[in-house]
Subunit: 306 residues, 2 copies
């Protein structure tokens, strides 16, 4: 067993509403881990340092263990702003632009996000760049799809992020079904399967036609009023429209087929895999949590291995 008193570093994924820490040895193996809902929103009130210290104590990290953080802790409203690195942004160079928390007991650093300062397509990411570091090879070319509340699509050329887009797919699903008229047409906490007929049918209608998502949302309700579907079909129908629309739009934006790297967790991974394959992509799947951890470790190695 590895000696937990001599970890290489603590790696922290500090999101808007979640905190996740892994204590890693110098090969990236997990010695111990800890997670909670003490995300940026929570810590804006309580402060960030006490939360980090409590988790370090909980996993038994020895004094002086260096800490590398990614995510919203580096936002303007976070612990300390880690300014965005503009595209074209070399993934390999990101760790060198991490900022250091002054006066902390340990060497604590926060990785920067990436921005696209184009008035025609302004965009930012914070946290996803670390998943890219963990999932994409140093000098590789890739088109990456990272589904979520705000799905990111990222184009990488020779290890450099050249451009990216954000789709508010998860947020739209939540808004439409929690606060809008479709709340009557979608069951709460419904679990969508990629085999659901309503999901497949909506994917088909949006295939190569992003506009069919915009004109299709109301149809989730209309189909039920007309007796063509039941409330049990609502979540699958809407998911299919949103995911199919996102993929069609991304295809228009990035003009690519071929291979796509899908960084996601279950159950969303399965839905996107099917949807991407239907639109002609070959999918290489990576787990989102593992990508974060691997990206933090790769960055920590670059910072602290001399």
């Amino acid at each position: 067993m590895t000696d937990p008193s001599r970890p290489f570093c603590a790696a922290v994924d500090w999101g808007t509403s979640s905190f996740r820490l892994w204590l890693l040895d110098d090969e990236g193996t997990v010695i111990a881990s800890s997670s909670s809902n003490e995300g940026m929103m929570h810590c804006a009130g309580t402060g960030f340092a006490p939360v980090l210290d409590a988790h370090l104590a909980k996993v038994g990290a020895s004094a002086g263990t260096p800490v590398l953080i990614c995510g919203m802790a580096g936002a303007r409203q976070g612990w300390l702003e880690a300014p965005y690195v503009e595209v074209p942004a070399s993934l390999e160079a990101l760790p060198t632009q991490a900022i250091k928390i002054a006066g902390a007991k340990n060497d604590v650093r926060i990785l920067p996000g990436i921005s696209l300062n184009d008035p025609q397509a302004p965009n930012v990411m914070r946290g996803e760049e670390t998943q890219l570091l963990g999932a994409v090879s140093e000098s590789g070319n890739a088109l990456v799809c990272m589904p979520g509340t705000h799905s990111k699509w990222v184009e990488i050329e020779n290890g450099v992020v050249t451009r990216f887009s954000t789709f508010m797919t998860g947020e739209l699903f939540s808004l439409l079904t929690k606060h809008g008229i479709l709340q009557h047409a979608v069951e709460e906490k419904a679990v969508v399967s990629s085999d659901d007929a309503a999901f497949r049918s909506a994917l088909k209608r949006t295939e190569g036609q992003a506009h069919a998502a915009l004109s299709g949302f109301f149809g989730v309700r209309a189909a039920q009023l007309l007796g063509l579907e039941t409330r049990g079909d609502g979540a699958a129908h809407l998911s299919g429209l949103l995911i199919g629309g996102e993929i069609s739009a991304a295809r228009e934006l990035f003009g690519k087929e071929g291979k796509v790297t899908l960084i996601a967790s279950e159950p969303i991974n399965a839905l996107y895999s099917v949807a991407l394959e239907k639109q002609g992509f070959q999918v290489v799947s990576k787990d989102a949590g593992e990508a974060s951890r691997a990206g933090l470790f790769r960055s920590a190695k670059r910072i602290w291995s001399r």
Copy 2:
């Protein structure tokens, strides 16, 4: 002055959250009118007949004045369900399919809505069909845009509704700015002008590219994080994306340029006029309230003029 004791009919637009009644003479001139927020939602609790009777008394309608109603009072959860007429639906024939309230003191009838029972594009309208009757000539061809919470686009051939689409444009704006992350990027009760640079710029980006709306929503926030726009630009930016995306999607669906009949009220009329003209349409504007009243009158004439 016309004798209010001898009106031709009372015309009622009974929506989800609003009630509007006009007492009309036999030339369609308004003798008196009354409105309130006693829409379908309100009346589901109190009953519909007492609300109608109170408004008829208020405008001094003589006993026995016939009443013609359009809108959500005819929904399943309304006063009495007026079943949808399926497309292809002749506008001229709609009044003959109005249903009669049994046991009412007056001759009270509710106009039906129109449905599109296509599993690939299920859709319904209730209330808009009456605006079409008031704004489109009997045997005309038209492409009609009716902006709102749920914008309708309707294709009419020889006075027959052949197909239509619904865009949840107004609802999306409301959901995104009231409950989502964009609430921080859009001022409450902001008034958007068609001259706003952020509106025009968003229209340009979505012109012929409905997908740019889906990939653009997050940019409303990103533009402000990056200092490219201010919070004062948020409402105009988002309105431009939603309206531009809707029009681009409708162009793909209906494959038309040329003339479009825009049935709307201010201030939304001005925004859509500019957006439609930018995408090559010649706009014929009609006021939404007047279209409802004219459609009810045209229908009443058909029912009660023998």
